[in-house]
């Protein structure tokens, strides 16, 4: 119907609002994500970043506006989406090893057993995050950073076309962070990547475009121009965010 105009969009959100009781969590969001985009959604805690990811996956229903993912409703598109939830939601003492955790990403419906192909994908994903040697290890014995890598492998094992990462750097140790972004650079050739973070400095040097979200979308575009919206999104509290290790957000002109 919309022809080529629509088909290049992985996600297209139009005038979407989401509220809990009478409070708007997200208001009048219009956003499109294209093939091979590498987008960071940044904003303060409680700004609706995780909520937006959940709406893209169809886990939450918007109150107004439209959301289409791979030109269909979000629920239908789940098979093409890899998701990294916030690590805090997880039962880390659950009796499961690394391999089986990543295998969960290959889930394909009731009564459908895992095949050899699934095992192959699981091992490839573990190798991508350099955790293949840990495959028989219990997840309870992993460090926060190792666990995070396993969960990224779980998201990748779905062979997604869209990767949604919720605070991916939250528990990764500083020396891992570089490695992590190298990995993202590599995999983004095969899929669109959207990552959510409250840490402005970390993401800015790696991603291609930034969306600033605090209830409403303040700006959206390439890093240099969109960074102007950060101040608005954070209500001019930018100094608060960067006072520890001042980082340059904008490249020199």
């Amino acid at each position: 119907m919309y022809g080529d105009l629509m088909s290049s969009n992985v996600v297209s959100i139009k005038n979407m609002s989401y509220k809990i009781r009478d409070n708007y969590i997200l208001e009048d969001i219009t956003l499109s994500i294209k093939n091979n985009d590498f987008l960071a959604i940044i904003g303060p805690n409680g700004g609706g970043k995780s909520t937006l990811l959940k709406i893209i996956m169809g886990l939450l229903k918007p109150d107004a506006g439209s959301v289409s993912v791979f030109n269909t409703v979000p629920e239908e598109a789940r098979g093409k989406i890899g998701y990294l939830p916030q690590i805090t939601h997880l039962e880390s003492d659950f009796p499961i090893n690394v391999f089986d955790t990543v295998m969960m990403g290959r889930y394909n419906g009731i009564f459908k057993d895992y095949a050899d192909k699934d095992e192959k994908y699981v091992m490839e994903s573990l190798e991508a995050v350099k955790m293949a040697d840990f495959k028989d290890k219990q997840i309870g014995n992993l460090s926060g950073g190792e666990m995070q890598r396993v969960l990224i492998a779980r998201a990748l094992s779905r062979r997604p076309k869209l990767l949604l990462l919720d605070e991916p750097t939250a528990s990764i140790d500083p020396e891992m962070q570089g490695l992590f972004y190298e990995l993202l650079k590599k995999i983004r050739k095969e899929m669109a990547v959207v990552l959510v973070s409250h840490d402005v400095g970390v993401v800015s040097s790696y991603v291609e475009s930034i969306a600033c979200l605090n209830g409403r979308l303040f700006s959206h575009g390439p890093v240099e121009t969109a960074a102007k919206g950060i101040k608005e999104a954070y209500n001019f509290k930018l100094d608060l965010l960067t006072h520890e290790t001042p980082r340059r957000i904008l490249k020199e002109h």
Partner: protein, 269 residues
């Protein structure tokens, strides 16, 4: 020494110990892992309403307890999400209202309610063969559900949000899990009674969990521990002529304490 084995009631007691352990090992593992101990306690107490209904209608209370406890499980899973109350509050309401319904039904039933106490506190030595058959059928249903839906149950217990992102209907499988708790409550009702059921649904798996990190092994070990400990409790209650349900629960509790302390102080695990 083993001459008591020849008694029919003792054979039935040993068979029911085995059937009970299967339900506990399978369902109890999920109860412990998914941390639904208090909701399971609520379902087991609410099942007393079904027992009362059985007395009132003049049919085997174990049979009427099946739909009643499943309904209360569905109520727990569904209503607490639809109506704006916390699950904690819903448990409190279900727990007491279920028992109250049971008491009223028994009040309305003319005459004296025989072996009412066995449904409250359990009586493994008086399990009739007909109840063994019901327990066996329920065990088979539980086992089939665990085998068929093992991936879904594991996914929602481990990471509910990710499970939903995979397209698993987390709420539906949560209700199925609670329905399985309801079925195991019915299996356990005659042996330990509604008040003590929660001990059997938690302790064997809580002990087994300290020894393995593999879900199927955890279930098998829980079943095995359940059998050993229930039978030990049964023997002690027979020898000392004390209440069997309470003895079994105390044996389980002691075993848990001994294993946990030994692990911590002797083996430093």
């Amino acid at each position: 020494m083993l001459d008591f084995i020849q008694y029919q009631f003792m054979q039935n007691a040993l068979i029911s110990a085995i059937l009970v352990s299967v339900a506990c090992g399978l369902v109890g593992t999920y109860v412990v892992l998914k941390k639904i101990v208090s909701i399971s306690g609520g379902i087991s107490h609410a099942a007393f309403g079904g027992i009362g209904l059985g007395y009132f209608l003049g049919i085997n209370p174990v049979i009427t307890a099946i739909p009643f406890s499943i309904l209360s499980a569905v109520f727990m899973g569904e209503i607490s999400k639809k109506v704006d109350i916390s699950e904690d509050t819903a448990i409190g309401i279900l727990w007491s209202v279920g028992m109250a319904i049971g008491i009223i039904f028994i009040n309305l039933t003319p005459g004296y309610a025989p072996d009412l106490f066995s449904y409250l506190f359990g009586s493994i030595l008086t399990v009739p063969s007909s109840d063994l058959l019901i327990m066996l059928v329920l065990d088979i249903i539980i086992l089939l559900m665990v085998i068929l839906f093992r991936r879904e149950f594991a996914a929602i217990s481990f990471d509910e949000e990710f499970a939903e992102a995979l397209g698993i209907r987390a709420n539906l499988f949560y209700i199925l899990l609670l329905a399985m708790v309801a079925l195991s409550v019915v299996v356990l009702i005659k042996v330990v009674g509604v008040i003590l059921i929660i001990a059997l649904l938690t302790i064997p798996s809580a002990i087994a969990r300290q020894f393995t990190y593999n879900l199927p092994k955890l279930m098998l070990l829980s079943i095995f521990l359940g059998m050993i400990l229930t039978m030990s409790g049964l023997m002690l209650s027979y020898i000392y002529d004390i209440s069997s349900g309470a003895t079994i629960v105390l044996v389980l509790g002691m075993a848990f304490a001994v294993v946990s302390i030994a692990r911590k102080y002797l083996f430093n695990l």
